[in-house]
Symmetry: C2
Subunit: 345 residues, 2 copies
């Protein structure tokens, strides 16, 4: 790669394929010049792209901060990188930052990212990858979701779907640290072994090989106190049917529902019969508390009390396949694409 070429992934066909435009030809490769920066801007050298299912929905526009990305414009998502030039007083070359930015080698940006959120700094002593994973949106979603809505008490039975994913793996570990018995749902024996092995989950359900409702019932004879959901669909419906009285369901994601609507939830009346609450939360409502979350997660990560699971695809060209693979559950842990060496401080 020459230094004067700026590779980009561009949105090529927002309407193609299915409801979310989730096809390989949605992404088009383009080379442009490395952008110039103006006053108050900096140039960020991207190192990691973050693959988040939400990125795809962003192409068509999402609520609030995510206006539709026009066809022909760069694809956007979470990026971790280094400031390499700065004309902003608060940022210096070598600063490690994350934000929702263009998927390109180089991005000229002010202190606010494409969603209007301040760029986040990655604390010293952590790899840039952690800035997108445990210390980024994924870890923070686990932290705020489990903390503010799970209300985990020692002895609770907590079930996490998408448990081997970027958010689920952290959410489950946080619940264990709160004294809960934690059961993870994941696809395939390798992911399940990761959960009950390295990550210390008490049990795992392999949704590809086992009947989730009956395994849930068997593993949770007194019901589920907290269900932390990243999946939606039939798995959420099974959890509804197995909730304990007074249980809490945290809606974090719904990857099973993003590409096809599916049969819909049948068991919502369990909320009334068992006095349960199903809460969603919006990540950007927590901006003022990002610092608190990063501090806590950083401490836990550094001490080894939570383990970070990364799934890193190598090279700029790896992005589309890595992004699409998430919807097939190909990733284990946080799916990243490493597009360049970290230039470092």
């Amino acid at each position: 790669m020459k230094n004067d070429v700026n590779r980009q992934w561009v949105v090529a066909d927002a309407a193609g394929g299915n409801g979310l435009g989730l096809t390989r030809d949605q992404f088009e490769y383009r080379e442009t010049a490395v952008p110039e920066i103006g006053d108050g801007e900096m140039l960020v050298r991207s190192v990691y792209f973050s693959c988040d299912p939400m990125n795809h929905a962003w192409v068509k526009g999402l609520e609030e901060r995510f206006k539709a990305i026009p066809i022909g414009d760069p694809m956007c998502g979470g990026v971790a990188g280094r400031v390499v030039k700065s004309r902003h007083p608060d940022f210096r070359p070598g600063d490690a930052v994350t934000g929702f930015m263009e998927f390109a080698d180089y991005v000229a940006t002010g202190p606010m990212d494409r969603t209007g959120t301040a760029l986040q700094r990655i604390p010293d002593g952590f790899d840039l990858a952690s800035g997108l994973a445990t210390l980024g949106m994924n870890g923070l979603c686990a932290y705020f979701g489990m903390g503010d809505f799970g209300h985990v008490k020692p002895g609770d039975t907590v079930v996490v779907s998408g448990a081997a994913g970027a958010i689920g793996s952290v959410a489950g570990q946080l619940a264990r640290l709160s004294g809960a018995r934690v059961i993870g749902i994941a696809g395939g024996p390798r992911k399940c072994a990761l959960l009950t092995g390295d990550l210390g989950f008490d049990a795992a359900i392999d949704y590809k090989a086992e009947d989730v409702p009956s395994r849930m019932a068997a593993l949770c004879p007194d019901g589920i106190d907290v269900f932390f959901d990243n999946v939606g669909g039939a798995i959420l419906d099974a959890a509804l049917a197995n909730m304990a009285h007074g249980g809490r369901i945290v809606i974090c994601g719904g990857i099973a529902t993003y590409n096809s609507p599916g049969p819909g939830l049948q068991n919502h009346m369990a909320l009334a019969m068992r006095a349960c609450t199903m809460s969603g939360f919006f990540f950007f409502d927590y901006i003022a508390r990002f610092g608190e979350g990063v501090k806590r997660l950083g401490t836990l990560l550094k001490s080894g009390k939570i383990k970070e699971v990364l799934d890193v695809a190598d090279g700029f060209d790896a992005y589309p396949d890595a992004a699409l693979g998430q919807f097939e559950g190909r990733n284990t842990g946080k799916q990243l694409v490493r597009i360049a060496d970290d230039p470092g401080r």
Copy 2:
């Protein structure tokens, strides 16, 4: 009717018809003798039977307090009546009580009803009917549901489904008293006129004649802050799609889902995108606060700040049709069956 004959409705065919056995031949008429009472018991003269959709599910058994009623046993439900004999120190002839009891002219009961809940006393100055409606389970569900989970603030937009029903009519009026703009959903022009007329709702949606999602969107341009649901199904899905950021959904009932499962909820991810909470509550968790609720509702009812809407079918034989009619939305307000004159104090 002779005084020595005790008419009963008996569960005849719990498996028949559909999922909840909701057919006319589920109910069988039987005459028995007026029961004798033992020590610690009293004889209650039933005056009103309460028609609640839940009664039917009880035939097959429900969560917690509602074990399945065996075929051949008396049908049970909410009853308001007078104590006519007592061998219990706390009850005297003339006392007005309600409880979940057999649907019969006379019931021998201790101070606990068929669900293990203490019989409730109807305060002096209120008709026995109010003891089942505004001051009974229906009014209390509205009070606790709207109060503990709706968190209505002045200026909020509140939408109530089943708004012309026993619970919805009270829930909507309570929300108005909290300063909300209240929109009711009901079936047919007569019910809608009741809502916007006598009951003071700000607007009504006729789900039988209007497209609920588009009317909801038009009437709630800033979204729904509180959705109080008695219906479930497509109407709940429409509400999910129209929630405001930070909105609260209170799951009180799901009459649309009791007889046929329907297509299921598609829009639950709105909970995450709009930081909403969907809470159910279980009536019997609130036993310790029944007194508080009855006092408040009684004050509002007496002062005319909330109006009670009763739909009274007359005569013992009217029960099965009245019970079934609820599932077709035939009732307006609280469906009761008046089986005898109130013998009075």
